[in-house]
């Protein structure tokens, strides 16, 4: 019997550090890399410095499509012409901690930097806390060449008006402290205005804020799992929707030198 006891003890020791021991699916126990958005924004800014043309890809709504996400990482790497990748939110379906870790580990396979915005599913349970720990503040911005990318949390419904979403304070701050040499702006969010998760009382106000930025190229979003392009407010600013990764589609945008010159492509894989 002593041998058996020893074996059991050994097993316990072996598994104590093991990933299989979990206190709860929502335990927010994070192992591995954190603060990814800040690090990758820095990498993008460094790599795109002085460039007026560059190309980026967008994926979105990767929740519970691990195989497809793994595939898209492989496909985007294979192309070799993508400078960075944007994720449109909803990398988790339930907000469970492990979902974020699995997704992060897959996306770490990108040879280029990537950033993620917060999706409505990412807010469930302790999901928002996990997002903040792994990626950082849900409102952030970075510069690629002469383009400012404003990445926003627009999941107002998930906060039940307890926090300003979208955060106009952040947008004003961005506007007044716009870095030198910025000529164009791109917006990235998870939910578009007029979708019920958005705070639609301020949909038009939001657009007024958007329009104040220099040469808004377009707005990018995900959430509805479809490929759409709309001029939502009839003012010429296009809202591009990136379909969920289950549709095996990603978007590619090429920013060019002209003020409103860019290419757009939806790539099926």
């Amino acid at each position: 019997m002593r041998k058996g006891n020893l074996l059991l003890l050994l097993l316990i020791v072996c598994f104590t550090s093991c990933e299989m021991l979990e206190s709860h699916p929502y335990d927010a126990h994070i192992t591995g890399e954190r603060g990814i958005n800040a690090k990758n924004c820095e990498r993008i800014e460094e790599a795109m410095k002085g460039k007026k043309t560059f190309r980026f890809a967008m994926i979105s709504d990767t929740q519970r499509w691990y195989d497809e996400t793994e595939k898209v990482v492989e496909k985007i790497n294979e192309r070799g012409d993508i400078d960075f990748v944007l994720h449109g939110g909803d990398q988790s379906d339930f907000g469970a901690t492990k979902e974020f870790l699995w997704m992060r580990d897959i996306m770490k396979g990108f040879q280029m930097p990537f950033v993620c915005v917060l999706g409505n599913h990412d807010c469930l349970g302790t999901g928002e806390d996990v997002y903040k720990a792994i990626y950082g503040n849900p409102n952030f911005a970075f510069t690629a060449g002469n383009v400012r990318f404003i990445c926003l949390n627009t999941n107002a419904m998930e906060y039940d008006y307890s926090q300003p979403v979208p955060d106009f304070g952040f947008m004003e701050d961005e506007l007044t402290n716009l870095p030198e040499g910025i000529e164009k702006t791109v917006f990235l969010m998870h939910v578009k205005p007029y979708e019920f998760i958005f705070n639609n009382n301020v949909a038009r106000v939001f657009q007024e804020y958007v329009k104040q930025f220099p040469n808004v190229q377009f707005c990018l979003y995900g959430h509805e799992h479809q490929l759409t392009v709309d001029d939502l407010f009839g003012d010429g600013i296009l809202y591009y929707q990136c379909p969920n990764i289950g549709k095996r589609t990603y978007l590619v945008f090429t920013i060019k030198e002209g003020t409103h010159e860019y290419d757009y492509e939806a790539v099926e894989f």
Binding site: M1, E19, M20, H24, A28, W65, D67, F94, W102, D160
Partner: protein
Amino acid sequence: MNMIMKQLNFKIVLLFLTIYVCPHRTLAQKDTLLYRTLIQDSILIPQKSQATIEEEEGIFTEVPKHYRKYDKRVHRYRSAWEALIPTHTKIQYAGGMGLLSWGIGWDYGKRGQWETDLLLGFIPRYSSRHFKMTMTLKQNFIPWSVYLGKDFSLEPLTCGLYFNTVFSDDFWTEEPDRYPHGYYGFSNRIRTHIFLGQRIRFDVPEKYRKFSKSITAFYEISSCDFYLVSAFTNSYLTPLDYLRLSFGLKFQIF
């Protein structure tokens, strides 16, 4: 208001914990308890002399029958409540029910092959905003027990399921009213887990018995609804991703 609610919640949790401690104390004195119960359970009729009986005979013929019915009823009442006395306590490490869970349980079935546990656990804060308590209702089925000798027995298979709930304002059983009905279509508060495991039981020899009749050590491999639905559609996830391990001890009180 929120603060007060949180404090209240904490008090309820503390109350639960004290209730869990109590059975230990009362049951440690189980022998006297049983003795007391037996005395209370019987109706004591003072011995009457033959003369008194004869004297009263004509008047109280139905009395003994009345007493017996009452007696049976009280007996049934007592045994129904006695069945609620937990037969064991359990402590479990990990398994998606908290870092550590502790609680009471009941054995039943012809060979004691069924077990139901009610466990209270805690989740450390980690990267979230606050520490959380959880509660688990667990159903076990232990079909076989093999005697190994020297007071040890092996239970080669245990299986069952458990439901876990989190005490926190961030979780809901049904979506709050602000969402369209059935928008998310799942509860983030209630998790369902299934498990398989093995146990080894040590029967404490009578002369060493203090609190427990037997002590059982077990391990379990489990998975929860979230992980299973993710694993079904993704080959990316390996068993190490969707299976969870946990360990525990069961202390049989009687």
